[in-house]
């Protein structure tokens, strides 16, 4: 029964090869562009996220500085405190070791490491440079930020072995013409001056970071601030899945009693830009696929009009409405299938070729990846559109009243 329906469908396809080819070509292009653009977007997204993870932990826990609040207000609602200020003593985390132990025991948490950040001056003869010195535990920070990957000179390991070691950004090295093994005098905000030895130079291809960031040992950072080893300003946490961070952050905040900021919040502008990009690409690629669907719709509508006599005869011979629908939907799906298969092949080819294109600069190789999910999405979406594009004219065909055709 269904055998004859598809046989009729295939006969129509065979006798209308040109139209079939045109419609399939539309789907082919739509599919290829959809998969290609989405793969490219995924590649860009991954690249931009990766560059964020080189400087941002998934979650940063810190004590947010607050304006001093009066302990009590008088009955007239006037503040008892005039000229309130940020309380400077508040920006540290109390009992950090216990908190870090607690955080490490949480599931979904992979790395927990302390950090002390401060602004310092690099003094070199007459020149002075303001630098953000980040005190870290080298092994843990290496795990978190993969600093080694961006090292152009020296080794991260040397920082671990040398309490007075410092790893500086490439911009600083250029400005002060510092090389591995050179000494630099560092002046802190607490007027502590100390000589550090350059053990490494990193380049993140992020000018702001390269020009003003330096890594030192946690203990050295504490000493620069005249603080003891319980003085921690931030606890950096990495989760097992970076994209779950925004859900885990509030849990950690509740647990720690301090503010926990996930990386997406910390890099709001970057995230907003990538969101915009996603919306535009999704919109454009979906539209292209839908337009390809219109191609099938048009061609099937034409076939239905051409074959209206055939439809009337088939109905007279006892074909039911659903048989007629099957005939035309089969036709649409075959066209769609041809287009989808060829479209996937073209997309694979394009992704493969572009992967090998070297752009250079910050980007390196063209950031496009083979994204199986995008392929599956494209295929499913392509077939759904094909089905709809076939179903609407098919339903029209099924409603043809044979008597009105025969009486003409």
């Amino acid at each position: 029964m269904s055998g004859i329906n598809s046989e009729i469908a295939f006969t129509y396809i065979n006798t209308n090869r040109k139209l079939t080819a045109v419609a399939a070509m539309g789907i082919l292009l739509g599919m290829a562009v959809y998969i290609f653009m989405n793969s490219m977007m995924a590649g860009f997204g991954k690249m931009s996220d990766d560059s964020i993870f080189k400087v941002s932990p998934h979650i940063r826990i810190f004590n947010e500085q607050k304006i001093s609040q009066p302990i009590a207000t008088d009955t007239h609602g006037l503040s008892l405190l005039v000229n309130p200020k940020i309380r400077n003593t508040q920006n540290t985390i109390l009992n950090p070791n216990r908190l870090m132990d607690l955080l490490k025991r949480q599931k979904n948490v992979s790395i927990v490491t302390p950090q002390v950040s401060q602004n310092v001056f690099f003094n070199m003869g007459m020149s002075q440079l303001s630098v953000r010195a980040v005190g870290i535990v080298p092994i843990e920070a290496e795990q978190m930020f993969s600093i080694s990957e961006s090292m152009v000179e020296g080794k991260m390991e040397n920082l671990k072995h040398n309490l007075n070691g410092i790893v500086i950004g490439s911009g600083i090295s250029e400005k002060l013409s510092l090389k591995i093994g050179d000494n630099i005098s560092v002046l802190s905000s607490k007027s502590v001056s100390r000589i550090f030895k350059v053990v490494g130079i990193f380049q993140l291809n992020n000018k702001k970071e390269d020009d003003s960031k330096a890594y030192i040992n946690l203990m050295a950072a504490q000493q620069l601030l005249k603080e003891n080893n319980a003085y921690i300003t931030d606890i950096n946490v990495n989760t097992t899945d970076a994209y779950q961070a925004k859900y885990i952050a509030p849990q950690l905040a509740a647990l720690a009693g301090y503010k926990a900021e996930d990386w997406e919040t910390a890099n709001e502008t970057l995230m907003a830009a990538s969101k915009m990009r996603k919306i535009i690409i999704t919109f454009v690629s979906t539209t292209i696929l839908i337009i390809a669907g219109f191609g099938i719709y048009n061609i099937l509508n034409m076939t239905v009009s051409q074959k209206i006599n055939d439809i009337a005869i088939l109905k007279a011979m006892g074909f039911e409405g659903r048989d007629v629908i099957r005939i035309f939907v089969t036709q649409a799906l075959v066209i769609g299938m041809i287009g989808v298969v060829l479209g996937v092949l073209v997309a694979l080819l394009m992704v493969n070729l572009l992967q090998k294109v070297y752009i250079g600069g910050d980007i390196g190789y063209f950031p496009i990846h083979f994204e199986p999910l995008k392929f599956v999405q494209g295929i499913v979406f392509g077939l759904v559109i094909t089905f709809l594009a076939g179903f609407i004219p098919a339903r029209k065909a099924a409603k043809v009243d044979p008597v009105s055709i025969f009486r003409k």
Binding site: M1, G3, I4, E7, I8, T11, Y12, T15, N309, D310, A312, I313, L314, K315, A316, M317, G318, F319, E320, G321, R322, D323, D401, P402, V403, F406, R407
Partner: protein, 224 residues
């Protein structure tokens, strides 16, 4: 005597452009194995009546029985199944599916019915084509045949499921006298030897006269 087809009090209206009654109180019976023709001037309602009898037109009042079963009020799909199994059609304009071979055209209703294997159906289709003297043309595409040949293939197609009733709407209307005679002989043969019922609309008086019985219509009524 068994009845193949029976109507009771069938009335039909056309609404476009104005309400107009096409059929008045039409009631008659057709025996099994009878060769019936319906004659009358054009516009008398004979084709309209045929399409009601064929179950394709369901917009009427009254009752229609096919093979002693009430067809009136059944769903479109149920009616399609009745047509597939019990009714064969021959139209004035041969109406073959142009993209298929003659053989395929003949096979389609049987393939739709799905009661036999493809091999059996093909064998049977060859038999029917042979009966109509069309076996040599079986594998030609439908649009390569002459009008008379196409009509014979259409008749073979109408016969493939061994229907109870064969209906024709001016089946010879488009044919020359030689082919008309051939078609008439085939119909008579089917009625006599296979006990199949023929209901044909015609305005060819000779054709009507030679049939077993003629229903004459005027202005939507049976007058004879």
């Amino acid at each position: 005597m068994e009845t193949a087809l029976k109507t009771e009090n069938i009335e039909k209206y056309f609404y476009d452009p104005v309400r107009f009654q096409v059929l008045h109180h039409v009631g008659f019976e057709v025996r099994k194995g009878e060769f019936l023709t319906m004659a009358g001037k054009s516009g008398c309602g004979k084709s309209t009546l045929l399409y009601i009898l064929s179950t394709m037109d369901t917009d009427y009042s009254g009752k229609l029985y096919i093979d002693d079963q009430l067809a009136t009020g059944k769903t479109l799909d149920e009616l399609a199944r009745i047509r597939n199994e019990k009714i064969g059609f021959v139209f004035q304009f041969h109406y073959l599916l142009q993209e298929f071979s003659c053989l395929k055209n003949v096979m389609i209703p049987a393939l739709r019915l799905g009661k036999r294997s493809v091999e059996e159906i093909e064998h049977k289709a060859y038999q029917k084509l042979e009966m109509l003297g069309m076996k040599e043309q079986a594998l030609k595409p439908a649009n390569k045949l002459s009008g008379g040949q196409q009509q014979r293939v259409a008749i073979a197609r109408a016969l493939i499921n061994d229907p109870l009733i064969i209906m024709g709407d001016e089946p010879t209307g488009n044919l020359d006298s030689k082919n008309t005679q051939i078609v008439f002989d085939i119909f008579q043969e089917l009625a006599r030897t296979n006990n199949q019922t023929i209901v044909a609309v015609t305005h060819d008086n000779d054709f009507a006269k030679k049939s077993d019985r003629t229903i004459e219509m005027l202005d939507g009524r049976i007058i004879n």
